[in-house]
């Protein structure tokens, strides 16, 4: 919403400075976004008189002017304007003046060998209009030497404010003035609207054609005809104001509707009465109907839109935009002025559906004062008669304005309860009354009647807001929030704690945290088990961000690809974030995902004198997954690692971590080469993904005490065994068998060598394990150890078909 300071002063009697007005606007909730002063740019331009205009010695189309700009000596100016002549009074720019159209300072120039010490300006050069066929011609008595800005009426700063959607009353200058007056910045000028008697009956019937259900679309439609008008340009002052706020003057009749719209927040429409056939009426549109609107586009209306029609068809959208055919033109002699009220919701929906943004829609969808329907019509009639002449008909009105008087029971103590601000009753009531509320009652219990122009005020809290925003939020004292307990308690949930630990764990393993989009390309979602129609956005911002991610891997892989393209081949990234298996809240999981590429293993990437890093592989991903589980408090010994993982992993180099087939905690492995191809990223890339919600919560034992340490005083004994097995036998089976061979004596089994080669034969491998025996009550004898060794060998042989390597 834009307006000028002088426009504001039409409604507000004030001595306040521009700065005070701007400060007050912001502090009462009408946030000032910009203050500009177009006059400021014209300050340096002077009114000047052309004394002589001679032919340029070297150019036929140029003239050599001698100009009196009130600077003492006449100035020599070379000018090409066809209207440059002796005696003309115009606008002069001396060297150094910044020309608004170019934004550059004027220099002394030499044009065709003759020096030019200034310029006589056109309207376009001063950004006053598009006029550039000649230089500005002012009346002959315009005072030479005076600043052109001062001559034009001084500066009139333009103030632009952001209006929140709840304040339709401030979409008119008068509403803004009312707020400022309540704040104490001046007095709201009385402004009674004059009732204009018609001299003849309205010649064009007006009707509302709705059913009971749809009547709310347009409950009132008032109109009158003014005949015998002359529709030329509107007067300069009106054009200046409209231009200052960014509107293009069109003709007096149209400019009047725009002016009232901004002055009072009251949209109007004018029709050429000669172009209306039969009865003018408001109704819902019908399929098949269409019209050409004032924006030149053709709209096929629908049965939801409120339209204005005559007996020949649809003329325009009610409250949004009128039609080209029925609009007023320079040739209009009889004008019909419409002042109606349109349903905010229907107006909003229709405007959105047809993609029309207009000043009328903007106001109606926020709520126009229903009590100002007739007054708006009278105001416009007066202006039409003043500016265009003509003779008014009687005003007619179909329907009734939808005025519902809102009365709120308002204990004055509400102000203190919600704001903490203790105000005298008189200050509260005076503030409300200054805003147009009526306050009645005594003591704490008051009754407040809401003015018709405030559809946003519905209850007590709204009134509290009105009071505190006007008296000043800065008056509310800062009050410490009492502590609920003396020492803070734990505030994070288990998942929140896991999320944080997961991030720190993966960062501590040398991975860098990325935050990638929650949506990925459809093909990427499909590659990772997603892409269901329910999880696809209806209005994605781009095709690359169309589907909710089923996994963090595609986003991280894309991030890897971007880094590789920048020349960083060894990248280790992680993310902890939401993934989506469905649309319900319980389908959203928190994944912790680590991705490594190239040689970016745990110890460091790339070549190094002490040992060059190898390409990452499945075991790097497995280590990340298990480290994560361990740091999240899960006993990794309980986890089963099963061969294979979902389709996006290499089938032979991936694993699933599970508690059982039904409870999968996550996966790790090398990404499938075909998936890498689809993602257009070169491998090797390994990934580990754990779903944090899947990890069982530890049982609350009610005690923080740890079990006593059972450390034996007796030395543990380590014995090595090398087993030869078929290549397909998993090492974990050997380890498990050995661990179970002699409980509780066997306390640890580690694999220290895996060998394939001629010594064990094709399709076979040797797996060497170290078995730790921890005695508890007595030192083991050689016989004891021999017995345990035998059971280890027997158990492993039974479980895997292994033989001891000879």
């Amino acid at each position: 919403m834009k307006f000028t300071l002088s426009w504001l002063k039409d409604h507000l009697d004030t001595e306040a400075s521009l700065d005070d007005v701007v400060e007050a606007l912001t502090m009462i909730g009408l946030e000032v976004e910009a203050v500009t002063d177009p006059g400021a740019a014209l300050k340096a331009f002077r009114i000047a008189k052309v004394l002589t205009a001679d032919k340029h010695p070297n150019a036929d189309k140029l003239r050599l002017l001698s100009v009196d700009a009130g600077l003492g000596e006449p100035v020599q100016v070379v000018c090409g304007a066809p209207n440059a002549r002796a005696g003309l009074v115009g606008v002069f720019a001396s060297p150094g003046t910044v020309i608004p159209s170019s934004g550059e300072a004027l220099a002394v120039g030499t044009i065709r060998g003759v020096e030019s010490r200034g310029m006589m300006c056109s309207e376009r050069e001063l950004l006053l209009s598009d006029e550039h066929t000649g230089i500005i011609e002012l009346p002959e008595d315009a005072p030479v030497g005076v600043s052109f800005a001062d001559y034009r009426g001084g500066s009139d700063p333009v103030i632009e404010i952001a209006i929140t959607p709840n304040r339709p009353d401030c979409l008119g200058v008068r509403g803004i003035a009312r707020d400022l007056a309540a704040r104490g910045l001046g007095r709201l000028k009385p402004d009674p609207v004059e009732m204009i008697p018609g001299s003849f009956p309205n010649p064009i019937p007006v009707e509302l054609r709705f059913t009971e259900e749809t009547a709310s679309a347009c409950p009132v439609f008032a109109a009158r005809v003014v005949k015998g008008v002359r529709n030329g340009p509107s007067p300069q002052w009106m054009q200046d104001r409209l231009k200052a706020i960014g509107l293009r003057p069109i003709s007096a009749l149209v400019d009047i509707t725009n002016y009232v719209s901004y002055d009072r927040g009251r949209p109007l429409h004018v029709y050429d009465a000669a172009k209306i056939t039969g009865t003018l009426h408001a109704r819902l549109g019908r399929e098949g109907e269409s019209f050409v609107a004032l924006d030149g586009r053709t709209y096929a209306v629908d049965a939801e839109a409120c339209v204005i029609a005559d007996d020949a068809g649809v003329l325009g959208f009610g409250g949004i935009m009128g039609g080209e055919a029925s609009g007023s033109t320079e040739a209009t002699t009889d004008v019909l002025i419409e002042s109606a009220w349109f349903d905010p919701n229907r107006t909003a929906r229709t405007g959105r559906r047809f993609g029309i943004n207009s000043d009328a829609r903007y106001r109606f969808e926020r709520g126009v004062d229903p009590a100002f329907v007739l007054a708006g019509l009278e105001l416009a009639t007066r202006m039409v008669m003043d500016l265009c002449g003509g003779e008014p008909s009687e005003a007619i009105m179909a329907g009734q304005p939808p005025i519902s008087v809102k009365v709120i029971d308002f204990p004055l103590s509400e102000v203190k309860r919600l704001s903490g601000l203790d105000l005298p009753a008189t200050e509260i009531t005076a503030t409300l009354e200054a805003l147009g509320f009526e306050v009645s009652g005594f003591g704490d219990a008051r009754t407040v009647t809401v003015p018709s122009w405030r559809p946003d005020v519905e209850g007590k809290a709204d009134l509290v807001e009105e009071v505190v925003r006007i008296v000043g939020l800065d008056r509310v004292k800062t009050t410490p929030l009492p502590r609920l307990q003396s020492v803070g308690a734990k505030v994070l949930t288990p998942i929140q704690i896991r999320t944080r630990r997961a991030k720190r764990t993966l960062a501590a393993r040398g991975l860098v945290e990325a935050v990638t989009w929650s949506f990925v390309k459809k093909t990427e979602a499909e590659l990772f088990g997603g892409g269901a129609p329910a999880l696809a956005l209806a209005n994605p911002i781009s095709a690359d961000m169309s589907d909710m991610r089923p996994s963090l891997i595609p986003g991280l892989a894309a991030a890897v690809r971007r880094n590789v393209a920048r020349g960083f081949d060894d990248v280790a990234l992680f993310e902890v974030g939401q993934v989506f298996a469905g649309t319900r809240p319980e389908d959203q999981f928190t994944a912790a995902t680590a991705v490594r590429r190239g040689t970016s293993g745990l110890v460091g990437a790339g070549r190094h004198w002490a040992g060059t890093a190898e390409a990452v592989g499945v075991y790097d991903a497995k280590a990340d997954a298990l480290a994560l589980l361990d740091q999240l408090g899960f006993d990794v010994a309980r986890a089963q690692v099963a061969r294979g993982a979902p389709s996006w992993f290499h089938p032979g180099r991936s694993g699933t971590i599970q508690l059982g087939p039904q409870t999968v905690l996550g996966w790790f492995g090398e990404l499938h080469p075909a998936v890498l191809d689809s993602l257009d990223v070169a491998g090797p890339i390994v990934a580990a993904e754990i779903l944090l919600e899947r990890i069982p919560l530890p049982k609350d034992k009610g005690s923080r005490t740890k079990p006593p340490l059972a450390a034996s005083d007796l030395m543990p004994v380590v014995r090595d065994f090398a087993f030869v097995v078929d290549d397909g036998v998993e090492a974990a089976r050997i380890v498990k068998a050995a661990l179970g061979a002699a409980k509780p004596l066997v306390t640890d089994v580690s694999v220290f060598d895996v060998y394939r080669g001629e010594h064990v034969g094709a399709g076979r491998k040797s797996v060497a394990i170290a078995v730790t025996l921890t005695p508890t009550d007595r030192t083991l004898t050689e016989d004891d150890i021999e017995a345990v060794s035998k059971s280890v060998v027997a158990a492993v042989a039974k479980a895997t078909g292994a033989t001891l390597r000879g």
Binding site: G29, E31, T164, P165, R167, N345, A348, E365, R366, L418, S419, L421, A461, V464, E465, V468, R469, L473, D474, V476, K477, T479, L481, L484, Q485, V491, R500, R504, A508, G510, L511, V512, E513, V515, T516, W517, S518, F519, A534, A536, L537, A538, I541, L556, A559, R562, N563, R566, F568, L573, G577, Q578, F580, T583, P585, Q588, V603, H608, W609, A610
Partner: protein
Amino acid sequence: MSDLTSLETEILSAVDAAADEASLEAVRVAALGKKGSVSDLLKTLGAMSPDERRTRGAAINETKDRVAAAIQARRDVLKRAALEARLARETLDVTLPVRPGPLAEGRIHPISQVIDEITAIFADMGFAVAEGPDIETDHYNFTALNFPADHPAREMHDTFFFNPGEDGSRLLLRTHTSPVQIRTMESQRPPIRVIIPGRTYRCDSDATHTPMFHQVEGLVIDRHSHFGHLKWVLEEFLKAFFEVESVKTRFRPSFFPFTEPSMEVDVGCRRSGSEIRIGEGDDWLEILGCGMVHPNVIRNCGLDPDEYQGFAWGMGIDRIAMLKYGMPDLRAFFDADVRWLKHYGFRPLDLPSLFGGLTG
């Protein structure tokens, strides 16, 4: 007695001449060993008279002691020389670079770090952390928050929608973290103090907007908390978060459907070049929106707004991270450029706390 003197001289010169511990040991054995020259002399004492034995014995034992001491001294010298030679041999080039190790390579994203900082501050004020789903219903994202149907305020949210379901209802990506206010009030009784950090989405992308961003919301519901408390909470937060002694704030009336009264908050700052210093200067910077929870919202959650009241606020996590740590471009937050992450990210053990300082 010249035989003893010359023997001693001979042995001592052999000790001096020993070039390493092995040859010194040979000298020792030759002199003091069982069959050594000195030991042999001691064996001759048995055949002597008591007087002779006394004088001769004393002299031999003195020689023996001097020889032993000389050998020990020589051994120390040789040992030290051998150690020095070994140390010289073992010298390595300590300027060769070592691998920095994973703790030096890993980074925490500024968003995670700032969420931890915010959590540390509000936990001290008794706030828990609440979370909710990203995919929301129209009810939680708008209706329950007092957005009227078709109201322009809805349109200002640039919502991402999913396709309508069989019943015609459309799910959406939450446009703010406020739906979690409703979910929290539905699931727990007052007093409520929560902060709600999370991802939010709007269909908007330009130099200063990304389609996904992060917000943190705060909610207090009880029987007493008013706007003065809200002011205190926010001022204390801003001081603690920006780690400054004091901040100036300016509360401007504004509009949000779910609060009444509603305010926007500016914080005092000083701008110098591209840097913005919070807590100094005379400029203002808009930093968050807040207000008293709208009675309709309280009612929508099954509470009586005449009995319960409270306040809420919301701000951009990415934005306050940019303000505090000076990142110039929001879009870079989501680009995963390792150069950016290493530069603006935090070390794995930089865990913010109040006792140790948010930034150490």
